[in-house]
């Protein structure tokens, strides 16, 4: 499903300013990502990376400029459509607490298909037996999560395992874009490296465009592209 040199993410003149603030929280003149590209977004806390994530996911809309995902200008979509677009085409991995504590590992993965018909049918097609659960099991196993963990409640998993489950959920149904927000910050060095290996292997196998946000410059070496978010003076951003 990856066509060469296809623009997946395109930002032009994007500005975002919280109401009542003097400075723009996000200011990106131009950014283009093609299918399968891996981008490292480096920024310390307060650099507006959280806001950037929300913009890319269509939760917030920019004050000016355009954000294009897969050729669709997000500003032309209603809030509900943007949510649906995210459900269909984007996978998200957070820093931690990615999982719902009352669902099993497997259910947490298949959850991503409950709001997206597209992911459901994609997941069905990718698995041999043709259902979402089989696809989720395959993903979990390729992320080194053994079958006995699939039915386990998620609070029985280690943090590293939980993060891999989150990746499985973000990848199920073949979204074109994976957004990861500091997914390794709660992991030790060993776990972090293994996590990154798996993340790269899986996104490359699926031709998924990866936007990886972190403050950790060590990780940047793995990426072909890096952008830096300028720290902004407005330190109250996090409270917004």
């Amino acid at each position: 499903m990856t066509s060469e040199r296809r623009e997946v993410v395109g930002l032009e003149g994007v500005r975002f300013r919280w109401p009542g603030r003097a400075e723009d929280t996000v200011s990106i003149d131009e950014l283009h990502l093609d299918a399968g590209e891996h981008l490292f977004v480096r920024g310390s806390s307060g650099s507006g990376k959280t806001t950037l994530l929300n913009l890319l996911c269509g939760v917030h809309t920019p004050s000016s400029g355009t954000i294009r995902l897969l050729g669709t200008d997000l500003s032309t979509l209603s809030a509900g459509r943007r949510d649906q677009f995210r459900a269909d085409h984007v996978g998200v991995v957070f820093q931690q607490f990615n999982l719902l504590p009352y669902l099993s590992t497997l259910e947490n993965v298949t959850l991503a298909c409950s709001f997206s018909g597209r992911k459901t049918s994609n997941a069905g097609e990718s698995a041999q037996s043709g259902d979402v659960k089989a696809s989720a099991r395959q993903l979990l196993e390729s992320l080194n999560l053994s079958p006995e963990l699939h039915r386990a409640p998620v609070n029985k998993l280690s943090v590293g395992q939980q993060q891999r489950v989150a990746v499985a959920r973000a990848l199920i149904g073949g979204p074109e874009i994976l957004i990861a927000d500091e997914p390794t910050s709660a992991l030790d060095a060993d776990n972090r490296d293994r996590f990154m290996d798996l993340l790269f292997r899986e996104t490359e196998a699926k031709g998924c465009t990866l936007i990886f946000v972190s403050h950790d410059p060590q990780l940047a070496e793995r990426f072909e592209r890096t952008i830096e978010l300028d720290p902004i003076v407005d330190e109250s951003e996090g409270a917004a």
């Binding site: 996911c57 939760v59 917030h60 459900a87 998200v92 957070f94 999982l99 959850l111 409950s114 997206s116």
Partner: protein, 418 residues
């Protein structure tokens, strides 16, 4: 996985606090339904007590008082009706039948009522049902008695047993008519009315046991049962009587005629109208109970609101996760409303179960003490309406935390600070 399933699993995850909420809702539902049930059943049993009787006639008194002592055997007559007046009214051509009632004595806490065999023929209760005998036959002899179902059951009497009637409504020994025992010849079927708690004898029987009594006490002479039979046992007065007319259209005319009687101050009442009036005087109590139950429900709903609000903080993460996988902001509201719906539905189901359980336990006690039969019937439209109102109220309440969660989810976006 649908939203409902997520709500279900989420609710199960928080079961301890939610179970308490379910219980609170259940108690308020039970109260509301119970008060409604009691109100209906007591109204039903009240209006079922007498039917087919056009007028009840007694010495002049308030209609409610006349109704209470003649039909419900509650309280006492202020005065008696002379036999002559009774006969003159009974003989009028508009009058189809009369049932004389003579009260004043008791047997072990149950009222004794003197009447004629017309009682068996013309008395109607419920939906114009006639009295039927469970066993035995009507009274015929002066010293025969026919017992109400509860009297026989509670005191364990059977056909052929002898009972002694006490003078007055207390069980004081000195005033027992122990020299003139009555023989049980019949037992009525259960009616669910005061008939069940009445000992029925003939007017002649009442007369016979009082032959050596005057002004409420024994005269010097004592006559035994057989000697009493030698006297004329036509009563000189009775307490009240029921009247059935040839033509119901004449009810008001006959009523006025009796009320205007010059020879003796009399009251004639329409049982239905007086029952309604009586019901109106006691129904504010029921309404008050209902209002109180309503407040209990409000308290329950507020408790539920508190519980849900307290979970909102821990749910911020959950909501961010759901938003990340594409849940819309309105899904967040729906999730909370759905969870509330689950809780309140469980509460209502438990409440109904508790209601039937309580009714099963209380039924014999209430029937015995108040003559009200709490039969386990299906929920009627009012009660379903009450449950519907409980659910609707809960959903309305849930919109508050739903809206808060909605606003937060818009503010927080996906990347939640932890």
């Amino acid at each position: 996985m649908t939203l409902l399933l997520i709500a279900l699993k989420s609710a199960r995850f928080r079961k301890t606090s939610l179970l308490l909420t379910v219980l609170t809702i259940a108690i308020s539902a039970t109260l509301l339904l119970g008060v409604d049930k009691i109100r209906k059943e007591s109204r039903e049993s009240l209006f079922n007590t007498v039917s087919g009787t056009d007028l009840i006639v007694g010495a002049r008194s308030s209609p409610t008082n006349l109704l209470l002592y003649s039909v419900f055997r509650i309280g006492n007559a202020t005065n008696n009706v002379s036999w002559e007046t009774y006969e003159s009214i009974a003989e009028q051509e508009e009058v189809a039948w009369t049932i004389p009632i003579s009260l004043g004595d008791s047997h072990r806490g149950f009222r004794v009522m003197g009447t004629s065999t017309d009682y068996f023929d013309f008395y109607r209760y419920g939906n114009k049902k006639a009295l039927t005998l469970d066993s035995g036959e009507r009274f015929d002899d002066v010293y025969d008695t026919v017992l109400g179902a509860d009297v026989a059951r509670e005191l364990g009497y059977e056909i052929g047993d002898e009972i002694i009637v006490s003078h007055g409504i207390t069980d004081a020994d000195f005033a027992a008519h122990d020299d003139k025992p009555f023989t049980v010849v019949g037992i009525f079927d259960r009616t669910g009315t005061p008939v069940d708690r009445t000992v029925h004898v003939s007017l002649a029987g009442i007369e016979a046991i009082h032959i050596d009594f005057r002004d409420g006490g024994r005269t010097g002479v004592q006559l035994d049962a057989d000697q009493a039979l030698l006297f004329d046992l036509t009563p000189t007065s009775i307490t009240a009587f029921m009247v059935g007319l040839e033509n119901r259209a004449q009810t008001f005319q006959v009523q006025r005629q009796i009320n205007d009687l010059q020879t003796e101050p009399m009251s004639a009442i329409l049982p239905g109208a007086t029952l309604s009036e009586f019901w109106r005087t006691i129904s504010p109590v029921e309404q008050l109970l209902f209002v109180i139950s309503g407040f209990v429900l409000v308290a329950g709903l507020l408790g539920m609101l508190t519980t849900i609000l307290s979970t909102l903080n821990e749910r911020r993460r959950e909501i961010a996760v759901l938003r990340a996988i594409g849940a819309r902001a309105r899904h967040v509201v729906m999730l909370i409303v759905l969870e509330t719906l689950l809780v309140v539905t469980a509460g209502c189901v438990l409440g109904v179960a508790m209601l039937y359980g309580l009714m099963a336990i209380a039924r014999p006690i209430v029937a015995r003490r108040f003559g009200v039969d709490l039969a386990a019937t299906w929920l009627d439209s009012t009660q379903l309406g009450i449950l519907g109102a409980v659910v609707a109220g809960a959903v309305l309440v849930a919109l508050i935390p739903g809206f808060i969660a909605y606003r937060r989810s818009i503010q927080d976006g996906l990347a939640l600070k932890v």
